[in-house]
Amino acid sequence: MKILVVNCGSSSLKYQLIDMENETLLAKGNFERIGEQEAFVTHKVNGEKYVIKTPVMNHEEALKIVLEQLVHKDYGVIKDLSEINAVGHRLVHGGEIFNESVVITEDVIKKYESCSSLAPLHNPATILGIRACQKEMPEVPMCGVFDTAFHQTMPKETYLYPIPYEYYEKYGIRKYGFHGTSHQFVSKRAAELTNKKDGDFKVVTCHLGQGASICAIKNGKSQDTSMGLSPLGGIAMVTRSGDLDPSVVTEIMEREKLTAKEVNSLLNKKSGLYGITGLDPDFREIEAASYKDDEPKAQVAIELFTKTIAQFIAKYAVSLKGLDTIVFTGGIGENQINIRKKICENLEWMGVKLDLEKNNVRSVETKISTENSKIEVFIIPTDEEMVIARDTKRLVEDNK
């Protein structure tokens, strides 16, 4: 079975074609700047990169070009589009309606649309992707895999905010959490890799990328996570603030005469480590600057970032009433050696001991704690597309 995984942003379309017989990647790519004259797609096959610049007005036109690449006479990976057995869509906000992946029907789309108020930028973009696939591949079954669904197992005292209850009842304002497919994937993998053979398995997964979130998982179920109503919550990120003293938000609004929309954008795009340092919003650059003597703000930013992550890990050890394993994943979690080291140094008192030699790797599945570390630490490269493809395969086969 071959599955096309689609991940749509408001002006982008990422895709992977995966052969599920041996879970191999056949081709992948990213269509950027959809709707502009400068639109282009970067298509990758067998390590070769093909860049096709072509203006497309919408996701439907973009998908058409992508499908052409898949059956291209020179570098195509399938002979005919009929070889695509199913499409798996990465969907963002499933609200309280979706607690697992689903086969996409008109009813599902309608319910998913009703969650759009919770993710006004992301949900509508992914619906464009669904509609484009319906047009171009009307016979192919589609599944939706939600960023939020994995976290629907959080208990009520965790997902409720201490604000008037009415906000939850009327508008669904609560903690939802994101990066669910990633947390699920790496925690499952950690359970396979761990030395722990019996009893409860308690793991904290750190998905650290441009967006970053931490998740407390017990026996495969999310118990708590750092992102909240939106992906702005939790730890400080590259451009997002994470959790704050809420009076800071109203204070800045008053002082700078900002509207709700403006302050939201400020907290999402101009805050975090970028806000503190004023450097480029690129984590590697900020980290590199932090090792220079004349960049005190970058030092503070990196200290704040690593300490907050360590604090969340400790906090989630409390939620789980114990901790067996810590997992690092995501661009920063997989690649930034020193960041992992700094985070784990903050946790030495808990019995976390990093093997510095083993930690000296990038993006390789590795156990990086010492043999006598009380808590195991792993790097597990995430693969959200594979989770989407596996769920899609399972659902399509079940539905036959």
Partner: protein, 292 residues
Amino acid sequence: MKVLVLNCGSSSLKCQLIDMEKNERIMKGHYDRIGGSKSSLRFNVRGEKKVIEHPARDFEEAISEILKLLVSDEYKVIKSLDEIGAVGHRIVHGGEKFKESVVITDEVIKAIEECITLAPLHNPAGLAGIEACRKLLPTVPMVAVFDTSFHQTIPEKAFIYQLPYKYYEDYKIRKYGFHGISHRYIANRVAEIKGRKNLKIINCHLGQGASLCAIKDGKSVDTTMGLTPLAGVPMGTRCGDVDPSIIPTVMKLYDIKPDEMLRIMNKESGAWGVSGVSTDFRDIERTAAERR
């Protein structure tokens, strides 16, 4: 030496007269609803409790009434006001200026005034108390003790917010922390009990307002409250730290302004907001137990 301790809130005043030699509280009082016609003073002298209904239009009238009471024939707490050797004022926000308690001078008053924007309800009340004492007890030295100063040892990585740095530079928006007087007292007391100072302590000050403080070797290294006492753990009516996207979301849904949003987060959130039972923790706890 006898010290008069004053703690002025927005419309109330708490006071104590303490004999420092005997380490004894001679008088304890709570003046409520200052500024209204129903103001009253509850006080306790040597175990005897009294309530006096006496309108006080402002802090000066309230403090004047308390001083009168101290030397009155009826209570004779002290023979003469000369016995008051000093006045200690609890001041909420000392900003980054005050890292410890200080003797109050004109310069200090000016600096406390400059912190008003950081505590618009509390600092003016504290200043009013200082002004009143200056008039009523002009020769008595006064000292300001700040809620924030104990936390001035918090390192930058813990006090800076993950926001554009200019908000710290321009408006001094950062974590300050509160309940410092309580956290400091407990840190010292624990050191006394343990007989050593090199301790790692977490103090949980849990009241209607609640904050936790991480204390290493007697110094605050982090605390849960932030720019204001709204932050940190959920409280009786305050929400504590939350995903900040909630604020613009609720503001848009209900079409409300920042000051109204701030009021909701301070007064209608926390355990009260979730439960709808009461603003008093004891009621909520009881109800939760009954419904179990």
